[in-house]
Amino acid sequence: MINNSFRLRQVWMIARLQLRRVFFARRSLWVYLLAFFPAIIFIGHGIEVKIKRERWGGHAVTTPAKLDSVREGDTEEEVIAKAGTPITDQRFRRRDEEEPERRYMRYYDGTRQVNLWFRSGLLVQKSTSNLIDFEEDRQVYAGVFQYFYLRLAIFFGCLGIFMNLFRGEMMDKTLHFWMLTPVRREVLLAGKYLAGLIAAVVIFTGGALFCFAAMLWPQETAEVQAFWRDGGASHAFWYAAAAALASLGYGSVFLAAGLLVRNPIIPAAVLLLWEGINGFLPAVLQKLSVLYYVQSLCPVPAPMDSDTPALARMLLAPAEPAPAATAVLGLLAVTALVLWFASRAVTRLEINYSTD
């Protein structure tokens, strides 16, 4: 018997059958690359920190107090007497100048590295930096997430996943398989959207959390523990939620676009521009944007360097954030509106492979 419960089962069945195609389609490979590229960068950074920590920790670690006692103007001998043998010790002389020999020493106190530059046997410059800076890494993550992940990775990933649900099958000449089953077109749309959404959420939420874990991985244990005590789980949750909701919103837009246009470049370019200029739009139009809502959910504001060019600053500056509840409900409303348009379009959809 055909009733709504049966139709819901059909939605789930379509999603299940479609999922294999979505996850393992050859043309989805680059989606995985986009999703996991930031994590690869953070893992690389983590490996570098771990290697340095391992290598430098193998030498005698100098206590912070001894390093703090070193002052500019000290002689090489005095520094060595105060701080002991450095982990790096290099002497060099510039060929084009008849200058006295220079010397560079590096010390490590288990957390910080201290760099010392000598000229004519005297310490002329001392700089100190943390081997790894948790606060800085969190800022970098926030920047990567908002400028790359939301604006590009999820955007183009959803383009790849959701446009293929109808347009890709039209190109493969396989769409009629679904249209020759006893399924309402709206049910077919819902099933395919669900499949795309599951795939996008798994890939991009997974990618965001994996990247988050990669960012935390090389940090000092004490700092990480303090971070979790201080609401770290909430940060991870909101990043994951932002990635999932971005998939929900962009997915609906590209699903609808796949029903209406043949060339994905056109809707992608229009939407990218629309999202890019969102910060300048009047308040009413800002609300017709996926980025507006998902950026509002991000727990750490994206950093913006003071020397960023004015045009880039204008394009990257986020709109005034909305409260979390408003952002979630607003995004759901935009998604529902777009899906309603898509459901109208899918009932008019025709198989015409020869023109595709």
Partner: protein, 310 residues
């Protein structure tokens, strides 16, 4: 009560400025109905309209009382084997057939049983667990047929279903269509070879340039066909002499000599008499190297029917 016929009233379909079909009105009763026409004549468009894959710009369609705009009901009793492979990459024949059945609401066990039964009916059980991508053309044709009949439809629509089948499988497939038709079901199939559907159809619809040019029981169309001159290409050493002998015969309507004088194209109204005449000529010492039918497809017949006879 469901009307057991397929009705098309004043149906037109255009693809932009390209004509698909134009003002088609048809009543298709149960039985085997063949849509015959040259490539690009509108056969596939007509079948796509009947199954709801495309929608008419004008006119109305009903399949046993159901509009093709309602796939939820239509496809419960309709199966359509298109000319395109719908199998996802990497799917086996069995997976392809059983996947669709799940959407009818059958349990996995029922879908499994029905899929195997359908594969058995098209003699494809041995290859059922092989990937569709590795199938031959004939096997793909059969797996599409299996998918179309798996839910035991009342209306079976088949686009060029005999293409690529070897003679044995072709005979089995035709028997399958006949079995469906004998149970009061619709079997609507397309072909561009009239001789192919001649022996299997209860009715034939001739279509050209998007318009129905003849329809009815096969006998009437067959009579037209027998009136239609057949073309034969003859290769021989003494073409001029053989041509002059043939031209004396009543059933020969036209002869064109080849430029090399080693062959000719002959139009005849009687294949039998033409065959007997050639045997006599060869027996009288005029060697004939080869004889080949030159109009096996239906295009020439169309030209004849549309043009009102040569």
């Amino acid at each position: 009560m469901i009307t057991p016929e397929i009705r098309l009233d004043e149906v037109s379909k255009f693809y932009g400025e390209v004509l698909g079909v134009n003002r088609v009105t048809l009543r298709i009763p149960p039985g085997i109905t063949s849509l015959v026409g040259p490539n690009g004549s509108g056969k596939t468009t007509l079948m796509n309209l009947i199954t709801g894959l495309v929608h008419p710009d004008r006119g109305t369609i009903e399949v046993r009382g159901i509009s093709p705009r309602n796939p939820e009901q239509l496809m419960r009793f309709t199966g359509y084997a298109t000319q395109y492979d719908a199998a996802p990459r990497g799917a086996t024949g069995y997976e392809f057939v059983s996947a669709g059945l799940l959407l009818y609401g059958y349990s996995s066990e029922e879908a499994r049983r029905m899929a195997w039964k359908a594969l058995e009916r098209v003699s494809l059980t041995d290859a059922a667990n092989r990937k569709v991508a590795a199938y031959s053309k004939g096997m793909r044709q059969r797996v599409r047929l299996a998918q179309a009949i798996a839910h035991d439809p009342e209306v079976l629509v088949l686009d060029e279903p005999l293409n690529g089948l070897d003679p044995l499988v072709r005979a089995e497939t035709i028997a399958l269509f006949r079995e469906f038709a004998n149970r009061g079901r619709h079997v609507v199939l397309s072909s561009h070879v009239l001789q192919e559907v001649d022996v299997i159809s209860d009715q034939v619809i001739l279509i050209a340039n998007g318009m129905i040019i003849a329809e009815g029981q096969i006998r009437g169309v067959r009579d037209e066909m027998h009136e239609h001159p057949s073309q034969f290409l003859i290769r021989c050493r003494d073409a001029s002499r053989i041509a002059s002998i043939l031209f004396e015969m009543d059933h020969v309507t036209e002869i064109k000599l080849h430029e090399d004088r080693l062959g000719m194209l002959v139009w005849t109204r009687s294949r039998q008499e033409f065959s007997r005449a050639l045997t006599r000529i060869a027996g009288n010492g005029s060697p004939i190297d080869s004889v080949m039918a030159a109009d096996e497809n239906v295009d020439a017949l169309y030209e004849y029917l549309i043009g009102g006879g040569r």
